[in-house]
């Protein structure tokens, strides 16, 4: 095959697979082999994207180079092996669970964000121990490699080389052809393994060591070995062939024995390094979060120390955000009624203040959860009105209780104010009454307001669960609340 030097002499030499540095906007897309729109290995497409040239031109150049004594093949294979797979146009190929924190940082602390951005990407992938990669983004980038296509391609290339050689007057013995093909097939198999291993690193922390990959490697080695033997030992007698094979295997085993400790240490060091990188990335995440939110809030609190209500509000908002960051599972938007309700609570705590301007704290206890639908959306809005009503007219502490049962969803909103008689509510509060009670009743639920003399008011809302509906489908549109579960959106 080719020597790497021949490829480095090529004008594209500098574009070896060093991931682009993230400082500043990259002038051109990084050199990656795209998974879509590829003919063989995506080398030409990736190169075209990187150089800003048309794919056709690059492919044509490769064909020309193939004509020049096979340089094109060598170059192609070299790039195929060395250039990592990926979407060259992807702005940020880190997994979503790492990008979560960068979003707020981007607006607030540029240098920190930029510095952090570099760490995971420069390492060529996420740390293996950070967490399971979310299926959405990485899953889209990973595609099963068409091994058969590659094999066919290599066979075709080999055929082209042979034909070229024949045309140039080389005398090709038939006994050369089969061993060469076997050798090539073995090499292809082993190299496809390398390619797959690269993807495996994205997918699993085992480094892509699956039974299939092992089989591929072993099969490739056996094929290549057989090919070499047949090539070298064409005119040998079978017993000499056997002897030399045994000798070769013995030499290989000896070399393996000598290199094994070194190899093991290398593997272990690699693992250690990956783990350290993962820890470092988690630490950077936490540091960035603390910097962006907690420290800033503390600075704000110190600056506003003369305004107790505002200080309490900021402290509460920060506490809520930190809790969410530490303990919450962050369900996907539109899938959790509890998360939507928590977002409503957060919004009220952030934007409202009590009758005498004090900060609002709502003790929320949520039992059970389900996917939101139009009914729960009505319940959510009614709950919101009830909470606002309690904030404005009631007295703290405010309690909110949600219970999602198999056939009934119940909400209780309680304050410790004077209480009021529903029949004697002033006309200006009729709208509130309508927006709480009417909303729920229209959905087949019930609503009641109970006032206990001097002991607060409790609004009780409940709606039945409709069993036979597909909530997932109905929940998709008209769910503005669910998006607000993102704790950093408003920062």
């Amino acid at each position: 095959m080719s020597s790497p030097e021949s490829a480095r002499d090529d004008p594209t030499g500098p574009a070896t697979p060093v991931p682009s540095t993230p400082s500043g906007a990259p002038a051109r897309p990084p050199l990656r082999r795209p998974t879509t729109g590829r003919r063989i290995g995506g080398v030409a497409a990736g190169l075209a994207a990187h150089l800003g040239a048309s794919v056709g031109v690059v492919r044509f150049a490769f064909v020309i180079l193939v004509g020049l004594g096979g340089v094109g093949i060598a170059l192609y294979v070299f790039l195929w092996v060395t250039v990592p797979e990926g979407d060259p146009y992807a702005l940020d190929d880190r997994p979503a669970h790492l990008s979560r924190l960068v979003r707020p940082a981007a607006g607030l602390a540029g240098p920190v964000a930029a510095g952090r951005l570099g760490a995971p990407r420069g390492s060529g992938g996420p740390g293996p121990a950070v967490g399971p990669p979310p299926d959405g983004r990485v899953g889209a980038a990973v595609r099963t490699l068409p091994v058969t296509d590659i094999a066919i391609a290599l066979v075709l290339i080999a055929g082209a080389v042979v034909l070229l050689a024949v045309r140039n007057g080389a005398h090709i013995q038939s006994t050369w052809v089969v061993p060469t093909l076997i050798l090539l097939a073995g090499t292809a198999l082993a190299w496809s393994q390398l390619d797959a291993g690269q993807r495996g690193r994205w997918r699993s922390r085992a480094g892509g060591r699956t039974p299939v990959s092992v089989l591929r490697l072993v099969g490739g080695l056996v094929l290549a070995g057989a090919g070499v033997l047949l090539l070298v030992g064409q005119e040998m007698a079978p017993e000499i062939l056997m002897q030399s094979m045994v000798a070769a295997i013995a030499v290989l085993a000896g070399v393996a024995l000598v290199l094994a400790p070194w190899w093991l240490r290398l593997v272990r060091e690699l693992g250690d390094e990956r783990a350290a990188r993962a820890r470092e990335s988690v630490r950077a995440d936490i540091a960035a979060h603390l910097h962006d939110s907690v420290l800033q809030t503390l600075a704000l609190i110190r600056a506003r120390a003369d305004d107790p209500a505002e200080v309490a509000r900021m402290a509460r908002a920060q506490e809520r955000e930190l809790r969410e960051w530490l303990y919450d599972d962050r369900p996907a938007p539109g899938t959790s009624l509890a998360a939507a309700l928590r977002a409503v609570v957060a919004e009220i705590e952030d934007t409202r203040s009590g009758p005498s301007g004090e900060a609002v704290v709502i003790d929320a206890v949520l039992v059970g959860d389900r996917e939101p639908d139009a009914d729960t959306e009505a319940l959510l809005q009614a709950t919101r009105e009830a909470l606002v009503n309690a904030v404005v007219h009631g007295r703290p502490p405010l309690s909110l209780y949600l219970e999602v049962g198999p056939d009934l969803i119940e909400v209780f909103v309680r304050d410790r104010g004077e209480g009021f008689d529903l029949e004697s509510v002033p006309s200006d509060r009729f709208g509130v009454r309508e927006s709480i009670i009417g909303r729920v009743r229209r959905r087949g639920g019930s609503a009641s307001v109970e006032s206990k003399d001097g002991n607060g008011t409790e609004v009780h809302l409940s709606i039945p669960v409709r069993a036979s509906e597909d909530h997932a489908v109905r929940a998709a549109p008209g769910q503005p609340r669910a998006d607000d579960t993102d704790p950093v959106k408003e920062r």
Partner: protein
């Protein structure tokens, strides 16, 4: 007013200990403090207070935090009662410390007066349930799904009355208000709450452990 209750305060943050000490009223007297697992075990064994206010997350020991302290003092549980006081909302923290033997769980946002009342209640042998803990119980025992015990000796399910009490506590009702609402005496409410605490501690309900491990909700 009777004699103040002696408590030992265990928390690794000096500032928080000072804050709690200042907020407690004259129903409670802080007789000792500790800031790590080992120190807490030593101080509790030495002073044998009726009540220990215990943080869930503590340094030292084998890394077991507050639950480890309770387990190391399990022979004292007759005379010393533990009230977990934590900033953590994580369900596994709550369940771990309760199952180790704590008589209650309150969050650090509690007011001084409420905390003093809770200490007194624990000293009297009763359990203290915050709305949050009641919510955990309802969630863990599947009470919201209508999984109701029929017999008194069932450990894995709540009785209908216990569920009612838990629901009212989760809705922010005090024990007195629960009693008024259900037309029962405060003593009966306390009995129900203690029964629920016992179930929470002894239940082998496999969902409970799995739930605590898998679920982290506020």
């Amino acid at each position: 007013m009777s004699e103040p209750v002696d408590v030992v305060l265990v928390d690794d943050h000096l500032m928080f200990r000072a804050g709690v000490r200042a907020s407690l009223d004259d129903r409670v007297r802080v007789v000792g403090e500790a800031s790590s697992v080992d120190e807490a075990i030593r101080v509790v064994r030495e002073l044998r207070p009726p009540v220990v206010l215990l943080d869930v997350h503590l340094p030292g020991g084998d890394g077991g935090g507050g639950a480890e302290v309770i387990r190391a003092c399990v022979d004292l549980l007759g005379e010393t009662r533990f009230l977990a006081l934590s900033v953590s909302d994580a369900a596994d923290d709550v369940v771990a410390v309760i199952r180790a033997g704590a008589r209650g769980y309150v969050t650090k946002a509690i007011t001084g007066a409420d905390l003093s009342a809770a200490v007194q209640r624990v000293a009297g042998g009763d359990a203290v349930f915050s709305p949050l803990l009641a919510g955990f119980v309802l969630d863990a025992f599947g009470a919201a799904a209508g999984d109701i015990a029929t017999g008194d000796d069932e450990l894995d399910r709540l009785s209908a009355r216990e569920r009612e009490v838990m629901r009212l506590i989760a809705r922010g009702y005090s024990y007195r208000e629960v009693a008024t609402e259900l037309f029962i005496s405060i003593k009966t409410v306390e009995t129900h709450v203690s029964a629920v605490l016992r179930k929470l501690q002894l239940s082998s309900r496999h969902e409970l452990t799995r739930w605590a491990a898998a679920r982290r909700l506020i």
